[in-house]
């Protein structure tokens, strides 16, 4: 530790102990005060929602102030899953960072890999072969499907509809099988490398995927038949957590949330990376910005992803899968920000290089973290039952929030 650091730490420490002494005095005072009122004497009640709660999708903790069941205030408290990924990036060479990105948004590892690789490739100025681009897009979109399927299942369970979960996971299982066949892992894929891909496709993979994809819209129809028109589902979601387009921009919300509020903004369309610019797909948007619209947007996105995968499969042709990347990756001492449209929104990597083989600083711009920020705003005035719908509709993954 340098001297100035120690002095700073000492200052912090002194402040901390002073604060604790103050808190201790306050606690003593409170203990001396008469017994606080029981549950029925107070109007407001503090409710700890999580970290061990079935519908916080991980270890999110919300400290709620409730009046009856009405939420007056919600304070998210996270960090239970903080693993210091950004610190780890700094200590390792660039290729060694990719497995760590799997653990950020662990239901959509491929897009994380992609964003990381994209940042480094931009820094290096590497061109990626066309076949690798197409395969990357296929992996991305399959990953989007699987992530949205997890979202559909879990947010259905949050609202009491148990069955879509199993149907969604049945399809997701097939997608994970494809991933397993391609790269050998089901969840933490590590399926991209800087400059391209680690493997070529296995024989028969494309046929199996295209068979699955042509079957997929019918499966989505099943989910929709269970939920979209269902009066209970509509009642639980329409008008819950309404957020306007302006507010979305103000809060920095991304992904299906901002599209559900009527902003047609999708990085695949706005700033196309890989070969998205030549693909034909629709960016689904809805106008009302409530939970139901976000649901519709995500379901539509699943259909569009299936379309994208089919188009890419048609365009696949033999070729290289890895661009010309130096054996030792030493990017110029520059900084770069690169982002992809992950299933949750804009996933960005801000990479600062000092010319060595390790990133000097690698910062993740996690969509879940920024989206979660709006949860108190969305939840205010709603009931506890709506809160689970809102957590579901934001679609957070705590691995990404806490990093």
């Amino acid at each position: 530790m340098s001297d100035e650091k120690i002095s700073q730490a000492e200052k912090d420490e002194a402040a901390y102990f002073a604060e604790r002494a103050k808190a201790g005095a306050a606690a003593a005072q409170a203990a001396a005060a008469p017994e606080p009122g029981t549950l029925f004497d107070v109007q407001e009640m503090e409710l700890n929602f999580g970290p061990q709660h079935p519908s916080t999708h991980g270890v999110l903790r919300l400290v709620l102030k409730v009046d009856g069941e009405k939420i007056l205030e919600a304070k998210p408290d996270m960090g239970y899953l903080h693993r210091g990924t950004e610190k780890l990036f700094e200590t390792e060479t660039y290729p060694m960072g990719i497995p760590h990105t799997d653990r950020l948004d662990y239901v959509a590892a491929a897009t994380n890999n992609h964003a990381f690789c994209l940042a480094v490739e931009k820094l290096l100025g590497v061109e990626i072969p066309r076949r690798a681009q197409l395969i990357r897009v296929i992996l991305d979109e399959l990953q989007r499907l699987s992530s949205h399927l997890v979202w559909l299942g879990t947010s259905g369970i949050d609202l009491g509809a148990v069955t879509p979960f199993w149907y969604a996971f049945r399809e997701r299982e097939q997608i994970l099988d494809f991933f397993e066949e391609y790269c050998g892992a089901r969840l933490t894929l590590n399926c991209m490398r800087i400059g391209g891909l680690p493997f070529d496709l296995t024989p028969g993979w494309t046929e199996r995927v295209s068979e699955f994809i042509s079957d997929f819209p019918a499966r989505v129809d099943d989910y929709e038949q269970l939920l979209t028109d269902n009066r209970i589902w509509k009642k639980r979601t329409i008008g819950v957590g309404v957020i306007s387009a302006e507010e979305c921009v103000e809060w920095g919300l991304t992904g299906p949330i901002i599209r559900g509020s009527g902003v047609e903004w999708d990085l695949r369309r706005a700033q196309p990376y890989e070969c998205y610019d030549e693909l034909d797909f629709v960016v689904p948007t809805r106008q009302n910005g409530d939970t139901y619209d976000r649901y519709i947007v995500r379901v539509q996105e699943m259909r569009q992803s299936a379309r994208i995968v089919r188009q890419c499969l048609e365009r696949l042709e033999a070729g290289e899968i890895r661009g010309k990347v130096p054996r030792v990756i030493k990017p110029p001492a520059e900084e770069i920000y690169a982002s992809v449209e992950s299933p949750k929104g804009e996933l960005g990597f801000y990479c600062v290089s000092n010319g060595s083989n390790r990133p000097y600083r690698m910062h993740v711009r996690p969509p879940s973290f920024i989206n979660l920020q709006a949860l108190p705003r969305l939840a205010k005035g709603h009931l506890v039952s709506d809160l689970v719908a809102l957590i579901g509709t934001i679609d957070i993954v705590l691995g990404e929030v806490d990093r």
Binding site: L88, E92, P95, M96, G97, I98, P99, H100, D102, R103, T163, Y167, R170, E173, Q174, D177, E180, E181, Y182, C183, G184, A185, T188, N190, P198, F199, T202, R208, F212, D222, Q225, L226, L227, D229, N230, R231
Partner: protein
């Protein structure tokens, strides 16, 4: 418009639609794999437990260097063989499997052809009562872990 709304409300069509989906699935093929008796074989590229070929290994320690979390420990020393040539002999080749994240970077880094350390062993049953004992692999375990005790017979389920 109002008439349509009332029609939809009173006919309970949405509810019957939902019921028909679940009813249809009542008799559909079940996806459950009854695990110990039935097993799904992992794919050829499946990243599972490690295996090491001591003969092939040239003791270059590239795998240990490439490992993002430094769980491969290699020690070696030089020895003269019968032709009085100096050869590297492994003292220690340990993989701390309980921390491994199965990223396959070690296998990619391995310069020998075929690879001397590989994960594509189609093994995933690594549950153990004692992590420190069973999931810490030394050379012996890395080279002959196949002596798995008590494997009950099972049927293989088709993938996909």
């Amino acid at each position: 418009m109002a008439l349509k709304k009332w029609l939809d409300r009173l006919a309970l069509l949405d509810l019957f639609d939902g019921l028909s989906v679940t009813g249809r699935h009542l008799l559909k093929k079940k996806m459950t794999i009854e695990y110990p008796e039935q097993k799904k074989l992992p794919s050829d590229r499946f990243r599972g437990m490690f295996r090491l070929d001591e003969e092939r290994c040239i003791k270059c320690t590239l795998c240990a260097i490439e490992c993002p979390i430094n769980i491969i420990y290699i020690d070696w020393h030089n020895e003269k063989n019968e032709e009085a040539k100096s050869v590297k002999v492994l003292d220690r080749f340990d993989v701390d499997l309980k921390r491994c994240m199965f990223c396959q970077l070690c296998e990619e880094a391995c310069p020998t052809v075929p690879k001397s350390i590989w994960l594509t062993t189609k093994t995933y049953e690594m549950a153990a009562y004692d992590r420190n004992e069973s999931l810490y692999l030394d050379i012996r375990k890395l080279t002959d872990w196949r002596e798995a005790p008590n494997v009950k017979p099972f049927t293989v389920v088709e993938r996909g």
